[in-house]
Every structure is written in C-alpha cells, then in structure tokens.
Symmetry: C2
Subunit: 246 residues, 2 copies
C-alpha cells in the first residue's frame, strides 16, 4: 500500500478561501506541515492536529519531514499558500519523493494570488496572461528580465509575484524600468497586499507610478495589457480585441 501525502494549496489565507477538498484532507491528517505564517492562519478546526513548521529557506527540510512521517504510517498534509503547484512545494516534493518510492503525492489545488488579487482589483487578467516571480533566489535575473520583455512585447497582462523583499527592495523598480522600455508609462496597473488576510489593501496606478510604490513580499502586482482600463477605481482587461458591447 502506498503512503499518501497531501500537498495542499490553502489559497490566500482565511479558511473561507479553501476548498472542501483541502479541508477534508486536513481533517483526515495526523500531522500538518508548513511555513509558520500559514499554519497560524489555520483555524481552531485543526487544533487537535500535530503541526510541524520550518522557517523560510528550509523548504527541503520541511518536505523531507513529510516523507519521513509518511513512511511511519502517519497521514501527512503539507500546506502551501495559494496554489500547491504555482511557486508551491509540489515540484520539490516530487523531486525528493524519488527517494521514497513507497509514498505517493496527492496534489490539491488552491486559489493562487493571480486569481485572488485580480478579484480584488477588478478583472486585470481577463485575457492571456503571464505569471512571473521577481525572486532571483533560484532563477538568474537575466532569465526574469527576458521574460518581462517577452511578456510586454507580446501584450500579455501580467501577475508579478515576490516583487520585493528586504534583500532586494528595488526589484519592482528594476522590473518596471524594463517594462517601460516597451510599454507606455500610463499603462494601467495595480497591486494588492495581504490578500485574504487581515490588512488587505489594494491600489490602482499607472506603470510609471508603480515604479516607485512600496511593496513587500506579501504584495502581488498586476500589469495590464493594451486593452486594460481603470474604471471607477477597478482595473479591467477586456476579454478580447474584437468586442463591442451593444
């Protein structure tokens, strides 16, 4: 019999953004593993469970713990914020899982910040779009830069994850400078902080204004495409190029 490990996307934060599939998997677990900030968001409902957390950058240790517990016969769920497979732990779990052939992964999707942030701003991604992380911890900056340029040139709307951190406070400005080589300065943009958690705030602005906004690791940034407008404070991308509403 295979040992099943759930890899769960919990969505942006509060329990009301989780799916039943995710909640039932957690109900059925002996131990819930994750980054502390996300474990803290889980409600009273799971207080009889054993929690295991590792700090940021200890993702591998966190994943290995899941397999070590699972092979003992314990029912394990690993939680990720947003979606399990969008900058989440699914990939690393499969990688490490090669060493644990008795274990099988069950990936449970969750609502990623591209969706939850867009819902707050209006409809900024309502056509083809790219999701790009500005974190160069595991990706060379040149690759990120190339993707920003490609996305701008092909007129994709964009959701930008990890736009800033303590160690790289100027990365959003650097990204905007690249986009401004291709996109007009007044292109409608927006950003959302603490989506689905206490202290949610959002703002719409132009690309040139975005350049100097203070953002942090809990901010998701949205860049409109050539059809995007700001109407009544909402950021709206048309769902096509051939549309007339009559």
């Amino acid at each position: 019999m295979k040992h099943i490990i759930n890899v769960i996307g919990m969505g942006p934060g509060e329990e009301r953004f989780m799916t039943d599939e995710a909640k039932l998997a957690l109900d059925d677990s002996d131990v819930i593993v994750g980054y502390g900030v996300y474990l803290d968001l889980l409600s009273e409902r799971y207080k009889d469970k054993e929690f295991y957390q590792t700090p940021m950058k200890k993702e591998e240790q966190r994943c290995r713990y899941c397999f070590e517990e699972a092979v003992k016969g314990r029912r394990v769920s690993l939680i990720c914020s947003g979606d399990a497979g969008i900058y989440g732990m699914a990939s690393l779990m499969y990688e490490i899982g090669k060493e644990y052939p008795s274990c099988e992964l069950f990936i449970i999707p969750g609502i990623t910040a591209a969706s939850s942030g867009a819902a707050i701003l209006g409809a900024p991604l309502n056509h083809d779009f790219c999701v790009i992380s500005l974190s160069d911890l595991l990706t060379p900056w040149e690759k990120i830069e190339k993707r920003l340029r490609a996305a701008a040139e092909a007129d994709f709307a964009m959701a930008i994850y990890n736009p800033s951190s303590h160690k790289r406070p100027d990365y959003l400005a650097r990204a905007c400078d690249i986009l401004l080589e291709i996109i007009e300065p007044n292109r409608p943009c927006g950003f959302v902080e603490n989506i689905g958690r206490e202290g949610t705030k959002s703002e719409v602005c132009s690309l040139i204004e975005l350049r100097d906004k203070k953002v942090n690791m809990f901010t998701t940034v949205f860049i409109g495409n050539s059809t995007t407008e700001i109407t009544d404070g909402k950021l709206i991308t048309k769902r096509g190029y051939l549309i007339e509403v009559s």
Copy 2:
C-alpha cells in the same frame, strides 16, 4: 444602497472544489445565472434557487439578465467555470455594469484549469508560466501566434485553454507547429480533459506527440519549460534553475 451582484468562480466542476466563500454567496442568492453545463454541476444544495441559463455565445444576454434582476432588488450570483476573472465573465460584467450605476460587483475567485489540471498532471507550472487561449473568436490569430512564440522564446511553461472546438479542430496542431519552430520536439507536455468532473482523463507526452492528439473544448494543455521532466508518469517543472537537492 448598492445592489450587489456576485460573480463567482466555481472551480473545475464538482462542489468539493468550490470555496466556502463561493458556496455562502450562492446560499444567499435568489437567482443563480450561468451556462447550462455549469448550472447542472451545482448540487441539490441549491435546488430552491431560481436558475437562469443562456447558451454559449449568449454571454452578454446572460450578464444583462443579472443586472436587470439585481436592480429589482433580487440577490443575484453569476457563476463561471474555473475562475471568474480568467477567461470568465468578470470583465464583461464590469463593461455592461457601466450602464447600471446602482449595481456593484463582488468577484469571488475560483480554481482555474491551470491549477486544477496541473495538480492532476504533477507540477507542470511550478515556475513562471503563461496562460494562452487558442480561441480566435474574440482575438486575432496573429496575436495568439505572437504570444505562443514569445512564451516559447522566453522559456515559460504554458497552460493552453480552448485548444480545440468543432469549428477549429486543427488549432492545437497549428499551435504546436509554431512552438516546434523554437522548442525541441521531445519537450515534455501533457493534457487533461474534464478536470474535476466525471470522465477526467490525462496524459503526458512529448510536444511532437501532442501535435496529433485529439483534444476538445474541455481539454487543458500544458507545455513544459526547459527544466520540465516526465518522472513516473508525472509532468514536473523545477521550481528554479539553481537547485540541487542534497
């Protein structure tokens, strides 16, 4: 007082993939509006509600109905499959909503096929990615082609929506031919049909094999990036380029 209309992403299908936020909004509605296929997926839980459906391509009529009912004081929810703001009705609702200033939209995100399909295949989008629709109903084909090229050249993983329909059975082959100008033929890919519904099936294959696969309007296609591998039948994209698991 504003008349609130909920625009709800119901996720891939079955109720267990919906969030509490979506379900509570439906519970609180007098009338639920949507495309028939999706309304049919709603369970017994909502059987006391009034349903209103329009066929495909009658989206505008569907949206107008929501506003007309809302201004009468009825509580209205419009459901979309997947996410409300990813090829969903959010954008069109904002557009038509300009004519109904007493109404306000509340967008409730759902799990889009990029997330739910990826979870079935493994972790194909576990790094920067693009979402591209092959439907040229509202978008010139040249624009779609440009985006496919840009995505391939910048090494994005891709989720491809609407890869085929009765009227355009060869669009996936056309898209693959464009990608094959840039990407090697054995690039790992995959596709999922009927995600989260009866008859779910999935397959992994190479890009050249994908070219001749039979897909339909309920299929979502995934193209790996340069790090993507097929391992034990799962499609896995590395979460970075600088990783060694020790």
